[in-house]
Symmetry: C2
Subunit: 148 residues, 2 copies
Amino acid sequence: MIPEEFKLDNQLCFRLYTASRLLTQAYHPLLSEQGITYPQYLVLLVLWEKDAQPVNDIAKRLHLETNTVTPLLQRMEKEGILTRKKGETDARQMIVSLTKKGSGLRRKLADVPSTVGSAVICDSVTPDTAHDLFRMLDDIIKTLSEKQ
Amino acid sequence: MIPEEFKLDNQLCFRLYTASRLLTQAYHPLLSEQGITYPQYLVLLVLWEKDAQPVNDIAKRLHLETNTVTPLLQRMEKEGILTRKKGETDARQMIVSLTKKGSGLRRKLADVPSTVGSAVICDSVTPDTAHDLFRMLDDIIKTLSEKQ
DNA sequence: TTTGTTTATATCGTTCACGATGCAAATATA
DNA sequence: TATATTTGCATCGTGAACGATATAAACAAA
């Protein structure tokens, strides 16, 4: 017999991993329509909030390393969604700014949050109870990101 | 001003994605010590529960497609962790079985669940409240996996 | 000023994920 | 029994993630 803690059903990480993948898949048809991926959508969310940010700020906001974000941004630059140019005050920085196409995607993707949101609503997760879930996930993220 | 639902902070998927990645990173030092990755650890959990399963059963258990699982298993076979051989009743199937090394890893990874578990404990997620989180995640997974 | 250290970004290699496609074995239908 | 369809797995291409490493600019110390 296997010890309880070795059972897949007992693993938090597996649930997070699966829920994350499945929910990302729910975004896919909506995003691919505009030729972008989910991580690219996250970059857009960050830049829609505040345009013209250095790579590092974007990476920090997404809890990603620059070696993940840099190629992501390069692909998005190639698609004409954003531009990357050297910082004027600090020449090490690369300032990432939205192009017309990039900021225009905000309107074209306007329905994404509500469309995906309604797909996740189930017995235990409704707009009401989502708050509890958010709090727990934020706490996990905070605890783990402080360990690095 | 940006509509509320477009703010990164309001996105469930981003939280799941981040929490999943950070928690997987917490597994990394423990798993790499034995030369395996987190998805490979998941395969081991499945096979420790029940040895000698076809590729399809493993994929279904992990909510992954076979085109993800097949290369994963091939790498694990090359590492001598498992074997893959054609099914006797159904020649299309590939039956995956643990080697001595593969089942031996169970003892060597015995401390992983408790070690990682204690790293996630924070104010809002304790062994007590984890149950609520599990229920919500299971519900999300169930809802989304039924949509395919 | 020279040297050393930190910081910001980039490059490389490996391993997932996953859509699209291919193929052979099994099964259903004609 | 032929033919068509489904099933199980594999291959391919692309885009993440991420550890390790590199490079140049900024900054600190000698």
